[in-house]
């Protein structure tokens, strides 16, 4: 009998075949995160991003509008540009020096007359893709006629928090990218599992009231909000570790997971992204970036100092302490909720290979896990 993880077979988390189908049908077929708007902010500047099976680059024109193209030279298919850079007016493929302008038109072919018997350059422009900005993030879609990005995010635009990320500067020191040895869906499921918050993170996320969380799916996207506990909410401006970024009359943590694998984590004092990118069936890259209040270093240190008293009493602590900790860098003793999550995900992935693996009943707070599996299934339907 097929071993299942609720709605999906265990192979969905371990096999190359499932991975390939997801790459083709989900990650090459939806809007993909490509960076922050600041990453391409001057004419000529470009970045490239892997979006499922497609490598797409974004370049800003002199009209300050972004263009996106498939990063494939129309001659032999070599990647035209590398990860990041700035072009003046043209993009040249390193292989045979075919050159395109920033509109994607092929403008020059070396030794055109000698090497080719007539070549219609107008038919050999770069293939366009779609690009847009939403909530200060760049998004690309491999289809040039993908339509409005609001067809994808419009329904949840007002539900992911009152933050205006466009007005919050990036806290660049928080930029980090790391690999987790687990399938991407394990990481998503961990992110949207409400049941685990009070347990795995009993010493790291207890400033929020998990019992009063409001959550559920809107289309393919998962929404989540929870209020601060009374102790944290009361006189909160003295307790926030960093200056406030949302109006005084609003508080809580907004932690949605947009499909596929686009996590946001926003609270009273910051706005963060958690981008999940599958690399292999059992390997996933996560990228975190943060935005904070547009305030001076002095204001940050002032806020940090005035909140120290609260945090030293309230206390963040590791799940395991003292003799239970294996070593000094045991993630379960770190007091860092991300380290705790990575630990849980990697341990779960390992168990999937055991012939004795069998999933237990799902709790109410795990209903989003089951719902996400259904969303994945619906995107793969008809593929096999």
């Amino acid at each position: 009998m097929n071993r299942m993880l609720h709605h999906l077979p265990v192979e969905a988390y371990t096999s190359q075949d499932w991975f390939d189908r997801e790459q083709r049908q989900i990650f090459s077929n939806t809007w993909r995160y490509a960076g922050f708007m600041e990453d391409v902010s001057e004419p000529g500047q470009y970045i490239s991003v892997q979006a499922g099976l497609n490598n797409i680059f974004i370049v800003m024109g002199r009209d300050r509008r972004l263009r996106a193209f498939h990063n494939i030279c129309r001659h032999r298919g070599t990647q035209l540009i590398r990860a990041v850079g700035k072009a003046q007016k043209a993009l040249t493929c390193p292989y045979h020096d075919w050159t395109y302008d920033l509109e994607g038109n092929l403008i020059s072919v070396p030794e055109e007359d000698r090497e080719f018997q007539g070549i219609d350059k107008s038919c050999l422009g770069l293939k366009p893709a779609s690009v847009d900005i939403w909530k200060s993030m760049l998004f690309v879609h491999p289809d040039p006629n993908a339509g409005s990005i609001m067809d994808w995010f419009g329904d949840i635009d007002m539900q992911v928090g009152p933050h205006v990320p466009e007005e919050l500067p990036e806290y660049e020191e928080a930029q980090i990218s790391y690999e987790i040895k687990a399938n991407w869906k394990i990481i998503v499921e961990n992110y949207i599992d409400v049941y685990h918050l009070a347990h795995l993170h009993s010493g790291t996320l207890q400033m929020y009231d998990h019992a009063n969380a409001e959550y559920g799916f809107v289309g393919p996207h998962y929404m989540f909000w929870e209020p601060p506990v009374a102790e944290y909410a009361d006189n909160q401006d003295k307790k926030l570790p960093a200056p406030r970024v949302i109006p005084n009359d609003q508080d809580g943590a907004w932690v949605p997971m947009l499909f596929p694998g686009i996590g946001l984590g926003a609270a009273e004092d910051g706005w963060n992204i958690f981008i999940i990118e599958p690399i292999a069936p059992d390997l996933t890259r996560v990228t975190n970036r943060s935005r904070v209040a547009n305030a001076s270093a002095w204001e940050f240190s002032k806020q940090s100092m005035r909140s120290t008293g609260f945090w030293s009493n309230f206390g963040l602590s590791g799940k395991y302490e003292g003799n239970d900790a294996q070593s000094e860098d045991d993630p379960m003793a770190s007091g860092d909720f991300t380290a705790e999550d990575i630990y849980a995900c990697e341990q779960q992935q390992k168990s999937l290979y055991s012939p004795h693996y069998e999933v237990g009943p799902a709790a109410k707070g795990e209903s989003p896990v089951l719902d996400h599996q259904k969303v994945v299934l619906s995107w793969l339907e008809g593929s096999k």
Binding site: D63, R65, D132, M150, G154
Partner: protein, 354 residues
């Protein structure tokens, strides 16, 4: 689309910019509502009887079709302008005026899910269609943003100054209204953005200050004289693709190409399902010949701006002296403006139907 005239009652009027312009609002009865439904950017043709005879003029609709405002035009006095001065001096609440249903291809259609950055470049009374467009975007495209660079002589000559400032207040983050004044008064406390005109410098500054956030950027231009061409050249020098630039000339045609003199020709004219052969004299326009032959084709501005007289050319060739009302695509499909067309081949076939 109907190209007949219908009598509409004037709901109300309002003097603008110290009596130099007048807004005329129309009451559209229930049974004409569908015929008079308009798209932001379109215009109305009015037919009035003056002592000089019957005259027709087109004026852009200045109200938004999605704001709940009544159908209205705003007419600025033109020096020695027959109709504009007549309207400003005489038209009052309760008057009945013959009006042709809205038309025109310079349009901005909005939708709730669209997410675009709209740049508007206007001057003087060129604001009228742009105001309708801008207001529509605010009302009906909650995810879109819009910026307007609006050129005038001084603070006193700015049409819709208060309405624009209300839009800025109401829609804050989503809109930027930038006044460009060529001769600002030293005593006026009015805060404007730049001194000068809406030229390349202003365009570059606007886009630099407000780069497109929504990447579906669209550019709309409506000004008098050579402004449109200058704005288009400036936008294209920034690599704005031509298909994103939308424009309408205002205050008369600025590029009349009368280098080609029409030849004598015979045209088979289809109008209201009936066919008739019409002789066209050398130098005569198709519209002139068709009217002289006793037919009653639709027409209005007779300057190539409004598009009321458009028809399909299926046989032969013509030269158009002006063609503002047509997009390149229309022309490819054989659309012609009969008021601007002179024959360049001896046999033509032209249909006003469809």
């Amino acid at each position: 689309m109907s190209r007949d005239f219908f009598p509409l009652t004037v709901l109300d009027t309002k003097d603008e910019i110290g009596g130099l312009a007048k807004t005329v609002m129309f009451d559209v009865p229930e049974d004409l509502a569908e015929k008079f439904a308009w798209r932001a950017g379109q215009h109305l043709s009015l037919r009035v009887q003056l002592k000089e005879g019957e005259v027709r003029r087109s004026y852009s609709i200045s109200s938004s079709p999605v704001s709940g405002d009544p159908l209205r035009i705003t007419v600025k006095r033109v020096n020695d302008g027959l109709v504009s001065n007549y309207i400003n001096d005489n038209v009052a609440k309760g008057d009945v005026i013959d009006v042709m249903p809205p038309f025109g291809g310079f349009c901005l259609d909005t939708a709730q899910n669209f997410r675009r950055t709209h740049y508007f470049f206007g001057a003087g009374s060129g604001i009228t269609p742009l105001f309708s467009m801008l207001h529509s975007v605010m009302c009906n495209e909650p995810h879109s943003v819009a910026y307007l660079a609006y050129g005038n002589k001084n603070a006193e000559s700015i049409l819709f100054k208060d309405a624009l400032s209300k839009i800025s207040d109401d829609f804050g983050r989503r809109v930027g209204v930038k006044h460009v004044l060529s001769a600002p008064s030293m005593w006026s406390g009015f805060k404007y953005w730049r001194k000068g005109i809406v030229d390349e410098g202003a365009i570059k500054a606007l886009i630099e200050e407000h780069p497109p956030y929504a990447q579906d950027a669209q550019y709309y231009v409506c000004g008098p004289g050579g402004m449109n061409k200058a704005v288009k050249v400036a936008l294209m020098s920034l690599d704005v693709p031509q298909d994103r630039i939308h424009m309408e000339n205002y205050g008369g045609a600025d590029e009349i190409d009368d280098t080609v003199k029409g030849i004598k020709a015979t045209a088979e004219i289809t109008l209201n399902g009936e066919q008739q052969n019409v002789s066209i004299g050398a130098g005569q326009t198709v519209l002139e010949a068709v009217r002289l032959a006793g037919l009653r084709p639709p027409f209005s501005c007779q300057s190539g701006v409004c598009g009321a007289c458009r028809a399909n050319l299926t046989v032969g060739t013509v030269h158009m002296r002006a063609r503002m009302a047509l997009e390149d695509n229309d022309i490819k499909k054989g659309r012609v403006l009969t008021c601007q067309s002179v024959p360049t081949s001896e046999a033509l076939s032209i249909s006003y139907d469809g």
